[in-house]
């Protein structure tokens, strides 16, 4: 009996310790963003890596999500003759929910793993120690550019996802299912509010910060050689994805 409590207790303590360290790293990152010197080159190259190179993944994800959404809601709505509302459903679902969440998950898989692997390798090959010995703060030099780039690029990718997702829905509805294009577009615009898009973009910002913080944390505190780097990479993706899904619910519940 004692060992059961011991087990739960030690895991709970570990959970608290990790949460504390992640929060500290997040706090340090925020502080160092505003502390000179300000470097432009590194954030820009990270923006290219996180943003530009993620576009194909985001576009394909969004397109097929919009398309399947149109197909599914059409099947449902036809049962009570509301096919014309497909455009509304697609637009609202994509902008409020699926655009930010699926983009967040896909980009976390792509970029979060790379961040954790890169920083983890730097840790186990003593490159992070080398930064310290060169009197350079590794949070400022390594984490701030990744954090900023994620914070900026996630919303931009979500805008892409929104547009492509809505276009995918339009394509399936109009070209395959034969909906009247004018009605489809009107139904999309009539019910879509700017607030729907803003809320999606706000989510994207939060997801970007989550992904960057968790992935950099996992990489930064990697232990145990190549095996440790592998573990850090897996944890970065799993934990980022879980936190994105959990925080998504709470943001939605709090704001709307």
């Amino acid at each position: 009996m004692n060992s059961v409590f011991g087990y739960i207790g030690s895991h709970f303590m570990r959970f608290l310790q990790e949460s504390g360290r992640i929060t500290m790293l997040f706090g340090q990152t925020i502080v160092f963003i505003f502390r000179p010197p300000f470097d432009v080159r590194e954030p820009l190259s990270q923006m290219e890596e996180i943003g530009v190179r993620s576009i194909p993944v985001v576009v394909i994800t969004a397109a097929f999500t919009g398309m399947v959404l149109a197909l599914q809601s059409f099947t449902g709505f036809r049962r009570f003759n509301a096919e014309t509302l497909v455009g509304t459903v697609v637009a609202l679902s994509v902008t409020r929910e699926l655009g930010p969440v699926l983009t967040g998950l896909m980009v976390s898989g792509r970029v979060g793993s790379a961040m954790a692997a890169e920083l983890g390798t730097m840790r186990v090959t003593e490159q992070i120690d080398a930064l310290h010995t060169l009197a350079t703060n590794p949070v400022k030099y390594l984490i701030v550019p990744r954090f900023l780039a994620s914070l900026i690029m996630f919303p931009i990718l979500v805008v892409f996802a929104d547009i492509i997702g809505i276009m995918g829905g339009y394509f399936v509805s109009v070209k395959i299912l034969g909906t009247n294009p004018t009605i489809y577009i009107r139904r999309t615009w009539d019910y879509l509010e700017l607030n729907d898009i803003y809320s999606g973009l706000l989510k994207a910002c939060v997801f970007g910060m989550i992904m960057a913080t968790i992935s950099c944390y996992q990489g930064f505190y990697t232990e145990g050689g190549a095996e440790g780097v592998g573990r850090a990479t897996t944890r970065a993706v799993v934990l980022s994805s879980l936190l994105i899904l959990i925080s998504n619910y709470f943001i939605t519940a709090l704001l709307f």
């Binding site: 390798t121 730097m122 090959t125 003593e126 490159q127 120690d129 080398a130 310290h132 010995t133 060169l134 009197a135 350079t136 703060n137």
Partner: protein, 255 residues
């Protein structure tokens, strides 16, 4: 003895443990200005921990470390970074930044802490590379270098900011005997040309005798003996004798 006899680095009763494992159990060490100190000891006795405490990569549990008389164990990160500018460190595997070409690696400190332009930094980097016997490598990436070259580039990076103190973490480990001697030769030259104080940790006795003014033996978390290479060879301590002769049998417990 080169230089004066004032103390450059002073380590006093240093303790450090990791999760219940007591690695350093009261290290006392004085390194004089301009001196080349070599700390020898088996794998896992805490040589790396000691050197990482001295440059502030690890915080000791108790005890003091003074550099030029200034206590560094209680400093915050910002003040510590000022102290670190006095240091250069050569890491065991080089620890070069994979994403930067050789010259940017060498000039990293200059880029971060001076307002020099890139061309000037590159010129200094090429000069420092020449000092460690390398030419025409400045544009290569670290992945294109051999083990010996990586160490020399790392040494060039360590001396780029003209430090007063150089720390060498197992400078000859993983190199063939000839390349090891090239590195030893460089370490001796660095001391002559740049008049730096240095601490090297190693278990390579050939290297230790070649580069040391004094040798300190670290065993079970303490410095058990310290003296000139000559005194070290003639030591009456059975532990020291077993280590320098490299015998499996003796008072040192092999785990």
């Amino acid at each position: 003895m080169v230089g004066d006899t004032s103390v450059k680095i002073e380590v006093v009763d240093l303790h450090k443990s990791f999760g219940g494992k007591h690695v350093l159990t009261g290290v006392n060490l004085e390194v004089r200005n301009g001196e080349s100190m070599v700390v020898i000891g088996g794998s896992g006795v805490g040589k790396s921990v000691l050197i990482k405490c001295i440059i502030g990569l690890l915080r000791p549990d108790s005890g003091g470390i003074r550099v030029d008389g200034q206590e560094i164990t209680s400093l915050n990160e910002k003040s510590l970074n000022e102290i670190r500018k006095k240091f250069g460190m050569l890491f065991q595997a080089g620890a070069l930044f994979d994403s930067l070409p050789v010259w940017e690696n060498v000039g990293f400190g200059l880029k971060q802490h001076t307002s020099l332009r890139d061309e000037e930094i590159k010129a200094i980097a090429i000069e420092k590379l020449r000092l460690v016997g390398l030419s025409h490598v400045e544009a290569l990436m670290p992945s294109e270098l051999s083990g010996g070259m990586r160490k020399r580039v790392s040494l060039a990076r360590a001396i780029a900011m003209e430090p007063e103190i150089l720390l060498y973490d197992e400078p000859t480990t993983g190199l063939d005997p000839i390349m090891a001697d090239v590195i030893n030769e460089l370490i001796v030259q660095m001391r002559k040309k740049l008049r730096v104080t240095s601490i090297a940790i190693t278990h390579d006795m050939v290297s230790a005798y070649k580069i040391a003014d004094r040798i300190a033996m670290l065993y079970e978390g303490k410095i058990i003996e310290i003296g000139t290479p000559q005194q070290n060879r003639e030591s009456s301590n059975a532990i020291v004798q077993q280590f320098i002769q490299g015998r499996a049998e003796g008072p040192i417990k092999v785990r």
